[in-house]
């Protein structure tokens, strides 16, 4: 589980979060449209089935041979490093999913079309085999991949990558964006290559196989076999080193990391031209981060690209990119926030584009602060009924229709209703607490609250018995709290949802919410009980809403809702939750994460909100498989599946 670091549209997925810390499938910024969205929200009901699919996928057509496909980037959301071991500071989807993985194929890669799971057809690794009580993992590799220098991609290349990651993490965990304390690569006691296409990993502690495969080995493609016979150097023209020696691995990592972080090296260093992906980087313009790549004739995957070149083109704003689309100058856009692109759909269609959107696998949530003692909020929010009452006040269908204009999917827990995963619990699709102000009021009244719709609800029956407010809640305690949301200057939907929810809570249940807008970095860094630096802000916020987090394919909330979790920003503390998360990470059950997600949906440790679509415009001159277009909405490019139409 990683924070989805919102870039803005510019950049960041600030917003659903501007940024995830891991391989950073960051969420996009939803800027603008807030006022209109509020107005719309007031005029829509709560009915209507929403699948999250917006528009129609680009048509397949017939592939021609040759041509160039251009892919759009936004300034400030461009690749920061070419070296596939990506640090926290450099991790973003633009660096990895939409850039590096075009040139270097991850060990495990996905999704498989709509389904959020590994697609072995686009992975170097075959399905791993777990043995020795899940402490030994044997990874068979496909033998068809080759480096562009003619060498085969083999087991040593995977060992090389893991050795470098271990060296990187030893320097500082921040060097590896997918690092989780105590897990990969710290839990590896040894790694070896007993045969040319087999790697064996021994773990210090057994992990749930599904967790290790989907969240560690897949880890959003962060494990990438690297050319061990070419990149095992510590200086330009230097000797080739034995990377299994940790000291050498450190030297190699330091050299490659520094070189890979220098934008001027992207298009010039011969090292980066040794690739096993469908394309090989040809040029990189340090001035504007636009780049060109050519088809890799040695690509061992299937299908082989039918076109000659894939180019990344950078635009300074969404407006500039939309204008480029209107003139047909760009084939595939970056993902847009719905509020920006939906008004442009008619003109883009007229200009010869398909516009479609789909939510990525992730959660959007407003986080409760269980340590905020202001007005005894810590005691109030500790009560499950209080959180459930708040959930009843959230009108997700109306948000989807009014704010997102249909371009979002419902989410009632850590696993959204769409896109589908093998682990989606039933209560992620059918909410336990659907929008019902009357049920919210009834729930509060049944627990000793004097509900004053439009006024101030207070605790009338203090105590710990049935029908009483609960421990630590004195008589007269108002149900009120502060709510900080991501500034609409970065992304709009958080502010609109916050305003809509606060209005509803006040009018229907007399719950008073004091709203304020804050920058993402401030929220994520300071309104954070998991961060020692956040201690002085603990009583400044009752709820924060900066976006959310992106799920891995095994969508555990490990680090998010377990006690002491790195991103447990509100300090949620629940023994059952801890046990369920532990089962997901260290157990053996294949349904552990489903049970965990179901419990999260039931206990409401955060207020879940709709999952926004990622909306793309694709020229009608470009074809591709439906799976490749769905993959794009998960920030993943499979450019070998695209082609120029006849």
């Amino acid at each position: 589980m990683r924070s989805s670091w919102g870039s803005t549209f510019g950049a960041a997925r600030w917003g659903r979060a501007v940024g995830r810390t891991g391989a950073q499938r960051s969420r996009r910024v939803f800027v603008g449209g807030a006022v209109a969205a509020v107005a719309l929200l007031t005029s829509v009901g709560s009915a209507g089935a929403v699948t999250g699919l917006f528009g129609a996928l680009p048509s397949a057509g017939t592939a021609a041979t040759g041509g160039t496909i251009t892919f759009g980037y936004l300034t400030g959301a461009t690749p920061l490093t070419v070296f596939p071991i990506t640090s926290d500071a450099q991790a973003s989807v633009y660096t990895s999913f939409e850039f590096q993985y075009d040139f270097w194929v991850p060990l495990y890669n996905g999704p498989d079309g709509q389904n959020q799971e590994i697609d072995y057809a686009v992975s170097v690794g075959k399905k791993p085999i777990f043995s020795d009580g899940n402490k030994t993992v044997t990874i068979p590799l496909n033998s068809n991949y080759k480096w562009s220098n003619g060498q085969p991609v083999d087991a040593n290349d995977l060992v090389f990558d893991v050795d470098l990651i271990q060296a990187a993490v030893k320097e500082t965990p921040a060097n590896f964006s997918s690092f989780t304390p105590g897990l990969f690569p710290q839990n590896i006691t040894s790694i070896s290559a007993p045969s040319k296409y087999t790697v064996v990993i021994h773990l210090a502690k057994a992990l749930n196989p599904d967790f290790f495969l989907n969240d560690e080995l897949e880890s959003e493609g962060a494990i990438v076999p690297l050319p061990s016979t070419a990149w095992n150097i510590a200086a330009a023209g230097g000797p080739h080193l034995n990377y299994t020696i940790p000291a050498n691995a450190k030297k190699i990592y330091d050299y490659l990391e520094k070189l890979g972080s220098s934008i001027s090296s992207f298009g010039t260093s011969p090292l980066w031209r040794i690739a096993d992906g469908p394309f090989v980087l040809k040029t990189f313009n340090a001035s504007n981060s636009s780049w060109t790549s050519t088809r890799n004739p040695d690509f061992g995957g299937s299908p082989k690209p039918a076109y000659n070149a894939l180019d990344g083109v950078t635009y300074t704003s969404q407006t500039a990119m939309i204008n480029a689309l209107k003139t047909g100058a760009l084939d595939i856009s970056t993902n847009f926030d719905p509020s920006t692109i939906i008004p442009q759909v008619p003109s883009l269609k007229a200009a010869g584009y398909s516009v479609y959107g789909y939510p990525d696998l992730g959660l959007t949530d407003a986080i409760f602060n269980f340590k905020d003692t202001t007005d005894h909020f810590n005691s109030v929010i500790a009560q499950p009924y209080a959180r459930q009452a708040l959930a009843y006040l959230e009108d997700e269908p109306a948000y989807i229709t009014g704010i997102f204009k249909g371009a979002a999917g419902a989410a009632y827990g850590p696993v959204p209703s769409v896109p589908p995963t093998p682990f989606t619990p039933a209560d992620s699709v059918n909410p336990l607490y659907p929008y019902s102000p009357s049920k919210a009021v009834a729930l509060l009244k049944s627990h000793g609250w004097n509900v004053v719709p439009g006024g101030q609800t207070t605790c009338a029956k203090p105590g710990t018995g049935a029908g009483e407010c609960g421990p630590g809640i004195p008589k007269g305690t108002p149900f009120k709290f502060s709510w900080a949301y991501l500034t609409p200057a970065t992304q709009a939907f958080e502010s609109v949802i916050s305003e809509a929810f606060a209005s509803e809570a006040k009018a229907a249940a007399g719950i008073n919410i004091a709203l304020s807008a804050k920058a993402f970095n401030f929220l994520f860094g300071n309104y954070n009980d998991a961060n020692p630096a956040g201690a002085k802000y603990t009583n400044d916020w009752g709820v924060e809403f900066f976006g959310g987090f992106t799920d891995d394919y095994w969508p555990t909330t490990n680090s998010l809702f377990n006690t002491g979790g790195t991103y447990n920003q509100g300090d949620f503390d629940n023994a059952t939750m801890n046990q369920l998360i532990h089962n997901s990470v260290y157990g053996t059950s294949t349904s552990a994460v489903t049970q965990e997600a179901s419990y999260v949906a039931k206990t409401v440790p955060a207020l879940f909100a709709p999952n926004p679509d990622l909306v793309y415009a694709v020229s009608n001159k470009i074809g591709g498989t439906a799976a490749s277009w769905f993959a794009l909405t998960q920030y993943q490019t499979f450019p070998e599946y695209w082609y120029v139409k006849k």
């Binding site: 300034t75 920061l80 965990p173 407006t319 500039a320």
Partner: protein, 316 residues
């Protein structure tokens, strides 16, 4: 005059150093070390401490300021961890493009605004004066992005005369110069907004000059109106414009963020905006420093130019 220039230059250097020191201190208070930009927000404390030690951010603030100023004097502005390049390289890449865009717009604006202002003054309170006033006020009140969008819609998307944005292949000043069609709309957008202000100043200045005795005397001598205007009015009326242009110099590098963003033309303005979004402090610092230096330089150039143009002015 020489002594004046030397004194002003010394003062400019002191002010620039002061700007650097104050800017550094303010950003330090606001954001502290750029360590989290370099290592990520969840870097462990040990790594943070080591990074700060290696890069000098563990030293007292006054020492850090001193180091920064000394490095800045040597044009070493640090390293952008967000963009993987030295700040000097980033400035070098972007400054020329912004200067070309802003400089071209400034020249175009002057070419239009000076005769327009004079013509309005000469034909004051006429239909043409009112029409020009209405147009310039409209432009003056128009946001850059709005004017830009109108121009793009009309000249690019409807008439297909100019491209709607600058090609990503136009990355150098020379490329900008050799592809005039690419830069036409951005330059016109900026120039149109500048014309509005300049022409109003010019009109006002020309009106003042027209009321002066030397104009009446020139006319009384029987000089033609064209000669009166060309020889006696223009030079005197242009004096305030020299100051205006001098003050506009910082804008040459300070950038035109809206225009750059709208037309896909990466320059200093956009660099600053992205640095602000990404809390890229080394870039923010350098940008602020350059803005301060250019403001001081612009004032200095304007004062000297006015003195050179108007012999009545004697500098003490």
């Amino acid at each position: 005059m020489t002594g004046y220039i030397i004194r002003r230059c010394v003062a400019a250097v002191i002010i620039a150093i002061g700007v650097a020191a104050v800017s550094y201190a303010l950003l330090n208070f606001a954001g502290g070390s750029p360590v989290y930009a370099a290592l990520g927000t969840h870097a462990n404390p040990k790594a943070v401490a080591q990074w700060n030690r290696v890069h000098g951010f563990d030293k007292p603030l006054i020492v850090q300021i001193g180091n920064y100023v000394w490095n800045a004097v040597q044009l070493k502005f640090g390293y952008s961890y967000k963009q993987g390049q030295s700040v000097a390289a980033l400035l070098d890449e972007n400054a020329g493009r912004t200067a070309y865009l802003s400089g071209s717009a400034l020249v175009l604006a002057l070419i239009i605004a000076l005769p327009l202002g004079i013509a309005q003054a000469v034909k004051r309170n006429s239909v043409s004066d009112y029409a020009a006033t209405a147009i310039t006020f409209t432009l003056y009140s128009m946001p850059a992005f709005f004017l830009g969008l109108i121009l793009i819609q009309f000249f690019a998307l409807d008439l297909h005369i100019f491209p709607p944005l600058v090609s990503s292949n136009v990355t150098s000043v020379w490329a900008s110069f050799t592809h005039p069609a690419q830069l036409t709309l951005p330059i016109v957008t900026l120039a149109a907004l500048t014309v509005a202000g300049f022409s109003r100043y010019m009109r006002s200045s020309a009106l003042d000059a027209l009321a002066q005795d030397y104009i009446r005397l020139a006319r009384a001598k029987g000089l033609s109106e064209r000669v009166v205007l060309a020889r006696h009015l223009v030079r005197n009326a242009c004096l305030p414009m020299i100051t205006l242009v001098g003050l506009a110099i910082p804008g040459l590098l300070a950038g035109n963020i809206i225009t750059e963003t709208l037309y896909n033309y990466p320059g200093l303005g956009l660099l600053f905006y992205n640095a602000l979004q990404g809390l890229d402090y080394p870039v923010l610092l350098a940008y602020t420093l350059i803005g301060g230096v250019l403001t001081v330089t612009g004032n200095l150039v304007a004062d000297i130019a006015v003195a050179a143009a108007d012999p009545r002015i004697r500098l003490g």
